[in-house]
Structures are given as C-alpha cells and as structure tokens.
C-alpha cells in the first residue's frame, strides 16, 4: 500500500498506572503516559512539537505542558467530554498534514476514584446553573438519569428489552475476564445486571461505567517518520466529529447519537464500511451508549441494536468484538474514556493483546461519546 507522505499514523501508545492509584497525582500519570508512549514510539521529548490534552489544570493544556517541560508550537485542549480524544486525533491529523508540526502527543490522566475516596469531589457533577443551564439545574437530571432516559425511549420506540441492554454489560465483562489489568473480571449474568442496586431506573449499577483512576497517551506522526518508527504504524484512515446538545430538551431524537454524523464522515473519508471492521472500541459509559453507537455507526439498523447484541455478538469471538479490554463498564473509566479506546485499538491492530487479541484484526472503529450524547467523534484505524 502506498500512502502519501503526510498520511498520519499512531506510532506510540501507552497507559499510565490505572485502576486504583492512591500514591500519584494526575500530573504524575500524565508524565507516565507521555514518557511511556514516546518510548513505545522510539521518540524522545525533544521530538514533540504538538501537544493536546484537556481536563487537567487551569489553562489546559498549558498546565500539563509546563509540568512536562515541553515547548510545543501547536496545542489544543478541545473539551467536549469523553470524545475529546477522538476529536483531538482529527485536529492533530490536520496539524500534521498542514505541515505545521511533525510529532503530536495526546495525553489524558485522571484520579477520579482516588479524589472521591479523599472527598475532594462529589459523586454527582454539579454545574453552574447559569445561561441555558438554568433550564436544567432545577430538576436533577443526573448523568445516569440522562442515559437511562435514552434507554427507556429506545425501549418504547423499538421494543428493546432491558435484558438486551444488560447483555452489553455481560459481554463486556467477558472481555474484561481476558484482560489481567481490568478492574472487574468476575463473570456476570443478565440476572446479576437486573438485580444490582437501582441507580436511575431502568439502570442498575451494572448498566453504568465503573469509576477508576488512570491515564494514557498516544503519539502521532506523518508517514515519512512513521515508517522508520519502532512499531507498526497504525494509520488514521478516517475521522469525523459532530455535536448535538447540552440541554436535554434541545435533543430532537433521544434514540440518535451524533455519531450518526461523525461516523458517516469517518467511514466516508476512510473509504470503508462497517462490514469491513474487525474490532470496535466504542465508548461505553452506559449500556445505552453502546446501543445507540452501534446503530448510529451502521453496524445495526436503527432500532435493531437490541437483537443485534444478543448471543454474545460483542464478545471476543463474536461477530463484532467490541471493547476488547473490558471497556468502561468493567476495565477502566476515570471519566473521559476516549483515550483508552485509542490505546486499545492500537494494541489490537499491532496484535499485542495476548488472551484478548482479536485474531487477524486489521481495521478498527473507534467512537467516543461526550457528555450525554452531546458530542461524538469517530476514528477509523488500520494497519498495512
């Protein structure tokens, strides 16, 4: 395969310490992720001329840039929730292809779990009730309730069952069982999901992502350097980003993720279709996130996501192996999971995943969902 010189690849990927991290700050996790990802790429600190991160500090990404002692000539901290990392991939591709920069590093870290344990933050998010948020704050629509409302509307319109949604959590846990670094690895059943403590009906705790600590980083560069790298280049074949709403009353159709638009762009630019994909990493903040994403990206027709996930479709060995590391539902979820999707997809395409490896994976679809279906971004990755 011949690629243009400015085609962009992920050439390094790494996680920081993840899971329970009680002895390190968010900033230390940034250092771990970035230094490990650069070592993975065979590059060094001095090669980095573009840095992207959000979620840490007062003036992101300058706080992290300062901590790491970097001097990037291009930075970006687009913050649209957990999909930010896929959005930033698109922006990094543009920065590299324009010729402004050569080596971009994207980094994420969070100690959400440890901060909660130390009572440095509340479990539920409190937002300033100003501007449009004055028409949201009075009624207590929690994050979980927003995703639960999506499940309920989908169940009403398409006859989707709570058992089908539970199957997504069960399949993801099966994948987690194959990942020694996953937070939860004990198998669960549909009955376990249905009988777990109720959070926001119809969602029990096992429909919801876990809360862990962790971080990671990826390194991107253009084809001319990527070919000489330490690792198999994982080409960024197509990207897309789309926004929808922040105020729930502004969302026209509670069964449609903005990934319907970002996915169309990403697949179109990559020149591939959902049936070509070998492995998926789809943000699974909640079981309903996966349901709408599968439909929005075209893996299942609208309304048919429920039957589609039945029978272990999303398990490794199933028809569409999805969230192969155990996802946010079982493996790792410090708050904005998009980075972990990129790292796991890269590792799958480099065939480094051991017991959880999808055999022969050459084409991956990554989709981040931000906020409460507020934003979505899709990345199609492949190896030669």
């Amino acid at each position: 395969v011949t690629r243009k010189d400015r085609a962009v690849a992920i050439v390094g990927a790494a996680l920081s310490d993840c899971g329970r991290v009680d002895d390190k700050t968010e900033y230390e996790l940034h250092f771990q992720g970035v230094s490990r990802a650069l070592a993975d790429a065979g590059l060094s600190k001095g090669d980095v001329d573009c840095f992207m991160s959000c979620g840490t500090g007062t003036l992101p990404p300058v706080d992290v840039v300062e901590y790491l002692g970097l001097r990037p000539r291009w930075f970006d901290s687009t913050m649209v929730g957990g999909s930010s990392w896929e959005v930033l991939v698109e922006h990094a591709v543009a920065a590299i292809q324009s010729g402004f920069v050569d080596v971009a590093v994207l980094s994420y870290a969070s100690t959400t779990r440890a901060d909660l344990k130390r009572r440095l933050r509340s479990a539920n998010l409190g937002f300033s009730p100003r501007g449009p948020a004055q028409f949201d704050a009075p009624w207590g629509l929690t994050l979980i309730a927003k995703y639960a409302m999506v499940a309920r509307r989908h169940m009403h319109e398409y006859g989707t069952t709570i058992e089908q949604l539970a199957e997504i959590a069960v399949s993801t846990r099966r994948n987690a069982a194959l990942n020694p670094d996953a937070y939860y690895r004990e198998p669960i059943t549909i009955d376990d999901v249905l009988s777990a403590p109720m959070m926001a009906d119809p969602f029990t705790k096992l429909h919801c992502c876990i809360r862990s600590d962790g971080g990671g980083a990826v390194v991107l560069t253009a084809a001319d350097r990527a070919r000489d790298g330490a690792r198999t280049p994982v080409w960024i074949l197509g990207t897309g980003e789309a926004s929808s709403h922040v105020t729930m009353s502004e969302w026209g159709d509670f069964t449609e993720s903005p990934c319907a638009r970002s996915g169309r762009d990403a697949f179109g630019r990559a020149g591939v279709s959902p049936r070509d994909i070998d492995v998926c990493e789809l943000y699974d903040s909640f079981t309903s996130t996966v349901l709408l994403t599968i439909e929005g990206l075209g893996f299942a027709a609208k309304g048919e996501g429920g039957p589609f996930v039945e029978g272990g479709t999303l398990q490794i060995g199933g028809a569409l192996p999805t969230n192969t590391d155990g996802g946010g539902l079982s493996a790792c979820h410090p708050g904005m999971r998009g980075m972990f999707l990129l790292v796991e997809a890269t590792r799958q395409l480099r065939a480094e995943c051991g017991a959880r490896q999808v055999p022969g994976a050459r084409l991956a679809c990554v989709n981040g969902t931000g906020g409460w279906f507020s934003s979505a971004s899709t990345t199609i990755l492949g190896v030669d």
């Binding site: 440095l120 933050r121 509340s122 479990a123 539920n124 409190g126 300033s128 009730p129 100003r130 501007g131 449009p132 948020a133 004055q134 028409f135 949201d136 704050a137 009075p138 009624w139 207590g140 629509l141 929690t142 979980i144 309730a145 927003k146 639960a148 409302m149 999506v150 309920r152 509307r153 009403h156 403590p197 109720m198 959070m199 926001a200 009906d201 119809p202 969602f203 105020t247 729930m248 009353s249 502004e250 509670f254």
Partner: protein, 138 residues
C-alpha cells in the same frame, strides 16, 4: 469540597429569561415564539434559534403535555436532591411543541408511561424561583 451549604437546584436567572421566571411565580408557563418564522421554542432566547430573527415574544402555554421519557432517580448526592430521592426526572413534550426538562410529581412510579398526559403545576419555595413541574393530568 463541602457542598452541604450549597444547593444545586436554583436557577441563575438573567434579564433575557426573567419574564419566564416572573410568570412562573404567578403560575403561568411561558414559551417563546418567533414573529417571523412562527417557530415556538423553549428554552427562551432573545432571538429565534431557527431563523435568527430578533422579533420574538412570549406565548402562554396551556400547561398540557405528554411524557416523552423519564427515569426514577435513586442516587444523587448533591443537595437538595439527596433529600428528594427517589424522584422522577423527565422530559415533557408540551402541547405547543417544545420540550422541557422537568419532574413528575404526585404520581405512582409504576403508573408512568411514554405518552402519558401531564399538566403543569409549580413548586413554590420562599426565596427561590417558582419551578414548573408536571403531574399526571386529572
């Protein structure tokens, strides 16, 4: 953070939205209407989000609505919601078209269904704006 003295349910009103909250205090539900393209919308802005006309005004809604979707919230550690759980978080679709975030009150949780007929009422509490909520229609 010690959030025990703060409450997270009080809207910060502003001059562009004050008529809505003033009407709510009188038991009236207002939505916005565009005089140019006739689009009806909520939440209010001083212009039409569809055609960007600044010729917009207020329309008193009937207060009748249908339940679009809902969730019964069992966990919320923010005050005052932590003392309200379980409560019904919902989206109401007004007879006039626009949707609102809201709570459903005076209802049996098991009796709720999508499409259920609702009617507005107002949660009054001294010192904070009056909040429109909905109950099953009589």
């Amino acid at each position: 953070v010690d959030s025990s003295t703060v409450r997270f349910d009080v809207p910060s009103t502003d001059p562009s939205t004050q008529p809505f909250w003033d009407a709510a205090a009188q038991g009236r539900l207002l939505i916005s209407v565009c005089h140019d393209c006739h689009h009806r919308f909520f939440y209010p802005r001083p212009f039409c989000p569809t055609c960007w006309s600044e010729s917009v005004g207020w329309l008193q809604a009937s207060g009748r609505a249908q339940l679009y979707t809902w969730s019964v919230v069992y966990i919320n550690d923010l005050p005052p919601f932590r003392s309200r759980v379980p409560y019904v978080a919902a989206i109401a679709e007004l007879e006039e078209g626009p949707r609102m975030e809201t709570n459903i009150v005076d209802c049996e949780f098991d009796g709720l269904y999508v499409g259920m007929a609702l009617e507005v009422q107002f949660r009054a509490e001294s010192g904070v704006p009056s909040i429109p909520v909905f109950r099953p229609a009589a």
